[in-house]
Symmetry: C2
Subunit: 314 residues, 2 copies
């Protein structure tokens, strides 16, 4: 085989791997390995390298949901421990480690039109700041700033900004959650793990017995169960408000990009929800929000493509 770079996007459930020709970003030999089948990242890397017949690697770029500045760390939402030196030794090449949302942000800079769903139209400003946000197990948030012909990702922890209720019902929910938590973050409610918490809080407020404990079941029950229905309505409304606050912090007049695996699966519920209304509900800043396009990415490989772009722009 010729000279390749390895790119990886490591989440809690799946480890995605691909190769790109050196300096390119087109993905080749893409394989998705379930994390549960391997003890740690070195085992998964070994399995992938065996599949692609051990190519000669020029470099690697690994996007992963963990504190990548540390030499050894555990993933937030699975059992893997990552020892960066061991992985680099195994790969035998220089390796760029990046936050999973840094990769999503890089991916957004080159998002294909075919993988875009317009949630809300706005003004096209391709060289202005953008926001990248996506609920998964948590809530990932990143900015993109255009500076002197290149993109600069702004990698923070915006999911841990404070939950800001916008009406009496949401304030009641916040009051419930403050009984259990010192601080209620946006991620605590506007995420896959937030859905069951919202549902339980609403059940408690209404004196009902909760029937469901996981996000998928609550989302599926939303057509028949009033409490599940209200939960999903709250989820989308809170997500709209949180996306707006994050977009204001980033000055994202270039657009808001919704990423990750959850929203494409519940797209029609999202389109029927208050998401856009809550996004725009900003008093004298309504027009600022109305001019901002909101785009949903349906590209499952955005993180891998972003890992390749990050390497190219390093």
């Amino acid at each position: 085989m010729n000279h390749f770079e390895l790119v990886a996007d490591i989440g809690a459930t799946n480890a995605r791997f691909a190769l790109v020709a050196s300096g390119q970003t087109e993905l080749q030999h893409l394989h998705i390995l379930p994390a549960v089948d391997y003890d740690d990242l070195t085992q998964a890397v070994q399995a992938y390298l065996a599949i692609v017949e051990k190519p000669s690697l020029q470099a690697a770029s690994i996007a992963i949901a963990g504190p990548v500045h540390k030499p050894v760390f555990t993933l937030a939402n699975n059992h893997w421990q990552v020892d960066k030196a061991k992985v680099e030794q195994q790969l035998g090449c220089q390796t760029l480690w990046l936050n999973d949302f840094a990769a999503q942000a890089w991916g957004v800079t080159a998002l294909d039109p075919e993988h875009q769903v317009v949630i809300k139209t706005g003004e096209d400003k391709p060289e202005e700041n953008r926001l990248v946000i996506g609920p998964g197990s948590g809530l990932g948030v990143a900015g993109l700033v255009y500076n002197k012909s290149t993109w600069v990702p702004v990698i923070g922890e915006g999911g841990h900004a404070s939950f800001a209720p916008g009406n009496a019902r949401e304030m009641a929910v916040l009051g419930e959650l403050l009984n259990d938590f010192e601080h209620v973050s946006v991620e605590r409610v506007a995420s896959g793990s937030g859905i069951p918490l919202l549902y339980a809080a609403l059940a408690k407020l209404d004196g009902q017995s909760p029937q469901y404990t996981d996000a998928g079941a609550i989302s599926a029950a939303a057509t028949t169960d009033p409490l599940a229905q209200e939960t999903m309505a709250l989820f989308f409304g809170i997500l709209g408000q949180a996306a707006a606050s994050a977009a204001l912090h980033m000055g994202a007049i270039g657009g808001v990009y919704l990423v990750g695996g959850i929203l494409p699966k519940i797209l029609s519920s999202m389109q029927d929800s208050d998401f856009v209304d809550r996004f725009c509900q900003r008093g004298r800043f309504r027009q600022y929000m109305e001019e901002m396009p909101v785009i949903l990415s349906t590209d499952n490989d955005l993180g891998l493509k972003g890992a390749a772009l990050a390497l190219k722009n390093q």
Copy 2:
């Protein structure tokens, strides 16, 4: 005179002007002109140029609290209309127009140790992201990202992020304010104009008659009047929480810089307040916040210095 660049920092109350030698940032011939004495910016510029005996200008950099991307705009908080073409013609040189908080952010990149008050210690990480935040008439918010040996300001509208109450009393205040506003932003409460609103909301909640209507009087009365005292306590607590949420969005592990004219005047009240506690009150993200230093800038010329630095880094 030799070759100079003109720098300006135009606020609602004062128009600050200075000269710097071309390519330098040391301020010379600094003059502060009260906005109320002039009909518009061209008049103030004319007055300044007369004072400094019309130097030969190589370039100019004007920081101003207005929508600087527009050719003609009015200032948010005074009577001036700005026609950029007229000002440029008057100056006779290329002019950089920048948001006032872009200038504050640039200023922070070179803040003198003598103008720093440590509000909260933390870990020194001079090349990591920073947050710049400051209550004035509104609440200015900007980020600073370090990228390939240069700083990139993140200019947004973080003051218009949603107010997130952290306890029952703040939720009651939010409930009051939601009677009057479609959306309650952080700036609506954590700013100079927010102090009278907080005071009035507390008075209403307690069934008392409000005695004061301006921020200065409320701040001054805080030692004797319980309601004024609670207002200032709320103000600092909310500001702490808002600074933390903004810092999380920016990933500001390089530190939080408090800027503007208000906080240095009420520094001892701030040091006695819950500001730092609320800043750190983040559940499992407490350590992340505790490692982040918080520095107050006491430099009145930070915007002017920043305007010079922006020009140099253009």
